[in-house]
């Protein structure tokens, strides 16, 4: 039986106290892993900070395994924060490993990202890479984009002074608009 899917609606401006966890930016894993930080800003089409986005990440562990159930306070591998008054977000997590798809696809180190906000009637989904452009050429999304300038919108860059801090800004619209995906 096919059921008719339910439409998306905006998260609206009033979600902070309802959906946010005080420690949602600290991503939990059962094992050890190299702790890294992913940080940046979300901007709109006029270059203004998006101050009320819900920013979520979902990722494999350091060895490339998809997290499953656990006894931690929250799900493993999942980060959830809001952008701040400057459009900024910060996720503190482990460096994800590379992983392989069911057809042998080589997925480069990456996080799946979903952004909800007032003015977004449905979430934008994408993936951010924690590896340089020349190291992700075989990744399925890199192949699908097939344009280095567009692909660069999804590459986080290590901070020259803090090599474990990756910076990634997201432009929702216009010049430098990030690549967003659908399945």
């Amino acid at each position: 039986m096919m059921a008719k899917p339910t439409a998306s609606q905006t998260v609206g401006p009033f979600f902070a106290r309802e959906l946010l966890w005080s420690d949602g930016g600290e991503v939990l894993f059962p094992g050890q892993g190299e702790r890294i930080v992913l940080t940046g800003h979300v901007f709109d089409g006029a270059g203004a900070p998006v101050i009320d986005a819900l920013f979520e990440t979902w990722q494999v562990d350091g060895t490339g395994r998809v997290p499953t159930a656990g006894e931690a306070a929250r799900p493993y591998g999942y980060g959830r924060v809001s952008t701040g008054a400057d459009g900024g977000y910060t996720i503190e997590t482990v460096r994800p490993g590379s992983f392989t798809g069911p057809g042998g696809e080589a997925y480069a180190p990456q996080l799946s990202v979903t952004i909800f906000a007032r003015g977004l009637l449905k979430a934008v989904r994408t993936r951010v890479f924690l590896a340089p452009l020349d190291a992700i050429k075989d990744d399925p999304l890199a192949r699908a984009i097939d344009d280095p300038a567009r692909l660069r919108t999804l590459v986080a860059t290590p901070d020259p002074h803090e090599p474990k801090t990756y910076r990634w800004d997201v432009r929702l619209q216009g010049q430098g608009e990030a690549v967003f995906i659908e399945f």
């Binding site: 039986m1 096919m2 059921a3 008719k4 899917p5 339910t6 439409a7 998306s8 609606q9 905006t10 998260v11 609206g12 401006p13 009033f14 979600f15 106290r17 309802e18 959906l19 709109d44 089409g45 006029a46 203004a48 998006v50 979902w58 990722q59 494999v60 997290p67 499953t68 159930a69 656990g70 931690a72 306070a73 929250r74 799900p75 493993y76 992983f99 798809g101 069911p102 696809e105 997925y107 799946s112 906000a117 003015g119 977004l120 009637l121 449905k122 934008v124 989904r125 993936r127 999304l141 699908a144 984009i145 929702l172 619209q173 608009e177 690549v179 967003f180 995906i181 659908e182 399945f183």
Partner: protein, 230 residues
């Protein structure tokens, strides 16, 4: 294995919807890139059992006494596109109080806060995909999107499903609300999919003499979950 699944454009609103002003500078303009979901996106975050407490399904017991407003029970099922129940999946809800006010610093609507109502709850679906929330009917509230704009009464829902590719945030509306006709957010949805955002009156699921009953089923579209995983 994917059969003719519903197209995104037949169900979901477009990003750009001129009548909803906040989309003007936030809607992406480039076409989305279609890819197969990764092994990550066919799995999803697994919430530990103790993440949700039973009391969190009742929004009316948060304060020292009962909140103001029309008490209601919201029941429903979370299903996948093939009609199968989505089991033990997190459903988060949030809403304005009976006066149409959120306890949020940026909500400057001049309507009273209710000290007995926070407007936030969560529940895990059971083995049949069912959920049940007890709350009060939220009020409509004005907004500045257009002259004399008022949002129809609605409850926000956040859902995970069994795969991260199913992740959905939506709003549930009430049957017979005259504000639906003028709401750009509701009307951003393709016409055929709009009835799916309106709850049904389901008196038998209420509490006799105490609470009205409503039913709202949610169907998550997206990539089929892998048989492995959870």
């Amino acid at each position: 294995m994917t059969m003719s699944r519903t197209l995104d454009a037949d169900v979901h609103p477009p990003y750009a919807h001129p009548d909803y002003k906040s989309t003007h500078l936030r809607a992406p303009k480039r076409p989305l890139v279609r890819v197969a979901p990764s092994p990550l996106e066919t799995a999803g975050p697994v919430f530990p059992k103790h993440f949700v407490k039973d009391a969190e399904a009742d929004l009316t017991t948060w304060g020292k006494s009962a909140p103001l407003g029309e008490k209601m029970v919201l029941i429903g099922r979370v299903l996948d596109e093939d009609g199968r129940p989505v089991r033990r999946s997190l459903v988060e809800v949030w809403q304005a109080n009976a006066s149409g006010r959120y306890p949020h610093p940026v909500d400057d609507h001049d309507a009273p806060l209710d000290p007995n109502f926070l407007g936030k709850g969560q529940v895990l679906t059971d083995d049949e995909g069912r959920y049940r929330i007890v709350t009060i009917k939220p009020g409509a509230y004005p907004w500045l999107n257009h002259p004399f704009g008022w949002r129809p009464a609605h409850i926000h829902l956040s859902l995970f499903g069994s795969a991260y590719g199913h992740r959905l945030i939506t709003q549930m509306f009430f049957p017979g609300d005259p504000l639906l006709a003028i709401d750009p957010i509701f009307n951003s949805v393709p016409e055929a999919a709009r009835p799916g955002l309106i709850a049904d009156l389901a008196l038998e699921h209420g509490v006799e003499g105490v609470a009205l009953g409503y039913r709202f089923d949610i169907v998550l579209r997206g990539p089929p979950a892998t048989p492995m995983g959870v």
